[in-house]
């Protein structure tokens, strides 16, 4: 079924594009504009050309933040994908248990983001936190405030708690699209469970997995509220991700440098998305 060619269809897309232009395109252009100015108040500003960019690219600061962000995204992907795919594989198809498990993993998705650090820090509260008491009992000295490894462990755990549902739902969605006849054919050929996974399931869910990967990589690059709530970028800036450093500049009213940072940050995110799109198109073809 090939779609019909008709340029009047643009009229149907127009309302959506108009709203997006107002809340997306116009502010983006403003950011781009600010990046070339030194801004004292928004009424008095001075053209500084590419000075902010030169400053950013010239110091190691930006690369360090980029490195930290990429480390976090890598950890997130390495933990959440095997786990999420594993869960999706064992969810029984089309039964009550199946919908119950999907419901369960979706619950953290509806928790407001600034409450997530609250929930987890409660567990680690020295007087009434359950997890803190367990750690105490087994004599494990968990110190997320001053130990960078522990901060990362906590952040990855919290992020996994929050987002594992999305990976499971997307993977499950991909798995349910595989026709039963594929499995029957595999059974007749005497394929093992692992062979079915590697040769039937994995290739079939690759496009959905790419989509999930894109969303997880981008959203983990954007992490702000949770990382800020848990340790505000500490200890010693060990978890000061791109978005946190940007937030800091904005809070300090350094609008020019903040805008320059935003432009680079946006370009980075866009590049990642574009790479994924190229990969996806190859996948569909």
């Amino acid at each position: 079924m090939t779609p019909r060619t008709d340029n009047r269809a643009w009229l149907l897309v127009l309302p959506a594009m108009t709203v997006l232009a107002v809340v997306g395109l116009v502010p983006l252009m403003a950011v781009f504009n600010y990046a070339f100015f030194d801004i004292f108040t928004l009424q008095s500003r001075f053209w500084v050309g590419t000075e902010w960019f030169a400053e950013l690219v010239g110091t190691s600061d930006l690369y360090a933040a980029l490195g930290r962000s990429m480390l976090f995204s890598t950890l997130v992907v390495l933990v959440q994908f095997p786990l999420g795919i594993g869960i999706a594989l064992i969810i029984p198809r089309g039964r009550l248990t199946g919908s119950l498990v999907l419901m369960l993993v979706a619950i953290p998705l509806v928790v407001p983001w600034n409450l997530i650090p609250m929930i987890w820090l409660n567990l680690l509260h020295p007087t009434y936190g359950t997890v803190a008491q367990v750690f105490d009992a087994i004599g494990f000295d968990f110190n997320y405030k001053f130990n960078a490894v522990h901060t990362y462990a906590l952040l990855v755990t919290v992020d996994t708690w929050h987002w594992i549902g999305l990976v499971v739902i997307l993977t499950y969605s991909g798995l349910s699209a595989i026709p039963l006849s594929y499995y029957q054919a595999a059974r007749i050929d005497g394929a093992s469970r692992a062979q079915v996974f590697w040769h039937i399931q994995l290739p079939k869910i690759r496009p959905v997995l790419l989509m999930a990967l894109l969303l997880r990589v981008i959203d983990s690059l954007m992490i702000y509220v949770e990382a800020f709530g848990i340790n505000a970028g500490g200890p010693m800036g060990a978890t000061a991700f791109l978005s946190l450093e940007l937030g800091e500049e904005i809070n300090a009213f350094n609008y020019g440098p903040a805008a320059a940072r935003s432009v680079l940050y946006f370009l980075l995110v866009l590049t990642v998305a574009w790479l994924f799109r190229v990969a996806m198109q190859r996948e569909v073809r």
């Binding site: 008709d6 403003a30 998705l109 600034n114 935003s262 998305a273």
Partner: protein, 258 residues
Amino acid sequence: MRTLAFALLAVFIIGPLMQAIVLSLTVTLPHPGVTVGDWSLVNYRNIFDNPALVASLHNSLTYVTANVILTLIVALPAAYALSRYRFVGDRHVFLLLLAFRITPPVVLSLPIFLLFARLGLLNSSFGIALVHCLFNIPIAIWILESFISAVPREFDETAFLDGNSLSRFFVVHLLPVIAPGVGVACFFCFIFSWVEVVFARILTSTGGKPITMAIDALFTFQTDIGLVMAMMVLSLVPGVALIWFVRNHIARGFQLRA
């Protein structure tokens, strides 16, 4: 084996919430008529005695509803066009949608604040509803497009032959068929709008605060952690209720199209 895995998963997901629920039912600060440490519903009663908190519940519900309605109104025709027609630039529309979905809120926070100040949309629920369209319209279009594409084209043609106009076809014929898709789209728009904090914070500097910001404001020198947790539990109720309604369709919305 499988049961054990699901049990572990349930503990991991529900466990942290349990602590919050227990705290919400515990008296954590002295209040008249109760002793600290006792089980009580006093925290929930205090929420409804506090006008700021009641207002925040109201604000959150208002902007989320406005956002979902606005998003659906513009996303439905767009999804239909992308599913049924080829037109100049249709492939670019998808890349554009992707770009908007992935724009980090913190990048846009300052210009959006200035723009909305000029438009008089600060401290209003409508302002938040509008800005959340930035990531909800792309999501809604993706989901609806995949549901509309699952409907055979003959379905449209029969309806048009019967003399339906495009708008009548949408409301009377198409909507009932893709109702599960609309449900899933509503669900995802709801959660992304409900949980979002960065825009909600900058756009409500003095008034119109949503639940998330009202909870932040509860942290003072002597925080009533029980009240905070009660508020948190309340903030989960609409989302969990929605999950229940879309539970059977939730996995269908993401069949991929590049």
